[in-house]
Symmetry: C2
Subunit: 368 residues, 2 copies
Amino acid sequence: MNVRLIAAFFAATLISISCFSQTIQEDFKPSSLNQPGQEYPQVNSQGYARFRIFAPKADSVKVSLGLGGRGGTKLKKGDDGYWTATTEGPMDEGFHYYNVTIDGGKFNDPGAKNYYGSVRWESGIEIPAHDQDFYALKDVPHGNVQQILFPSKSTGTPRRAFVYTPPGYEKEKSKKYPVLYLQHGWGEDETAWSNQGHANLIMDNLIAEGKIKPFLIVMTYGMTNEVKFGKIREFKIDPFQAVLVDELIPYVDANFRTLTNRDNRAMAGLSMGGMETKMITLNKPDVFGYYGLLSGGVYAPDDLKDKAKPKLVFISCGSKERPDGVTKAVTDLKGAGYNAVSYVSDKTAHEFLTWRRSLHEMAPLLFK
Amino acid sequence: MNVRLIAAFFAATLISISCFSQTIQEDFKPSSLNQPGQEYPQVNSQGYARFRIFAPKADSVKVSLGLGGRGGTKLKKGDDGYWTATTEGPMDEGFHYYNVTIDGGKFNDPGAKNYYGSVRWESGIEIPAHDQDFYALKDVPHGNVQQILFPSKSTGTPRRAFVYTPPGYEKEKSKKYPVLYLQHGWGEDETAWSNQGHANLIMDNLIAEGKIKPFLIVMTYGMTNEVKFGKIREFKIDPFQAVLVDELIPYVDANFRTLTNRDNRAMAGLSMGGMETKMITLNKPDVFGYYGLLSGGVYAPDDLKDKAKPKLVFISCGSKERPDGVTKAVTDLKGAGYNAVSYVSDKTAHEFLTWRRSLHEMAPLLFK
């Protein structure tokens, strides 16, 4: 980090600190991701989170979330054995993973539901977003999320995937649909996009509003070969590419009513899933016609040359990530004659609200 | 508890205690329900469980499982900050819920996956059963487990259910199927039968062996009105009956290829789900033709008289529950001219191996 960056960092921190002086509104409500009947954790209208955990004989209790969603917050013990604290400032809107350190050991908050991230089932909390309507559970026709178990010779075991089928899929018995293969990030699994991503509700709502033509989404586990976070550069795509392209796609095409040509097949992924998307679409340009990288790197025009031209390249990230890299990449791609679209999610970081919004922006552009 | 029962209890305990003197085999392996990459908890070939939890500054760590699966086990702290212990004796075969008490607060084991039970997401551990083959993930054709969101006017929100569709359902486009409505127990939810129950794998294997004709299984949340464990006698069936009979069944019949008459519709449930099954089948004898109570009470001939006769009444429990009550009830029903079948699961208690086995026994008897 150079001196200018450090200065910028401190300036940003000062702006954030100035927010702390606001009065905390005492309108805390249970997070929407709490376990049934659990009152804590809570969130207020400003985005502060309040935690409350029972551990009467513990010496220290800390949650991994703090200002903005990063850092951590130490809890204080009350006479009743409950440890409580409110974050120092508002958190970013949307979904955050977190965990609780009790006397030096890492556990989950017994009040919150769990979501797979960071190679463990973590606690989850939801800070209501001003635009949460697009992924809300509404009284509209709903598609299904189907757990399938498909054969995989390359890994020697049946493997799990989830398939979103849009409303009407069961009834319109002769209609065939395009398919988006959608990957999770590092440390997550095939449950992420429907659990914390609400991919099914985003689709149901877009379809109810007439904004997209229905398509299927297929989500499977992308960490086929184990990869440690610091060693992601050593990642080899071959094992996962074999599962996806040689095993899963043929199974889906044989067992669901799909359109099986390149122009009706998309691949996208978030973070590490974007890296996988880039590798696989470049290795198999005849298999996928639409590419999406969500906080997961960029394509340069040189990556794409001398290959079947993609119908669309969609690249996105949060405004708190590296939006300049995303917009520059798309400008370059357009300059080289590609159909490319960028999207920057306002005031979000490398987290799921960025990716929910990215899916919501990308879906209407697919299969045109 | 009378004197004779107390004597029997102590006799049973002494028999159990005599098992303790056996040498513990050091062939411990990670439980099959561990989170990816987690070495603990472990299970050995005799059914002992070993726990290992990192909490270097804690004063006390205890898991809720002990001998047989009941009681609890205190962990001892090592110099490396890890707390460890092995259960005093072998646990019952099959699935057990558990939690971890750290300095007086209730958390989960960070090594294990979580399963909804006791109105919380609990840790789960699996003691390999000698007959586990019937619910194993095998290289056979697999059905899907579909998450559906169905409209519910009576509760004012779309509700979730899971629908098992057998292998071939997608391809055989004109075939219609019978349906089993299958309920979880108190403190569990609609995830229980497919997560910890392996209902889908039990069906896949039975179908692959040619032992049953394929049917659908529908699983939804049965604690529509909140009920506390001690107050289960105050439970009113009306709210859940409205969801199941007036909302879910019509939705399933409209959106899946089902046979919609009484003789092709069954209801069964475990524990509280058995109580619900009894109440609803007696209230709505024209809706269901097959009844199943798994560790969930019995029917007396008087319950059934002057109503449409069930095609089958299936009643089961574990041998460590009240098997005499189950076999007597079935004898009485047979004496009164009903087609009734009892099943007692050997050496299991009020736990999921009893219910996996019960489903496996009941499924071939349905829709004959």
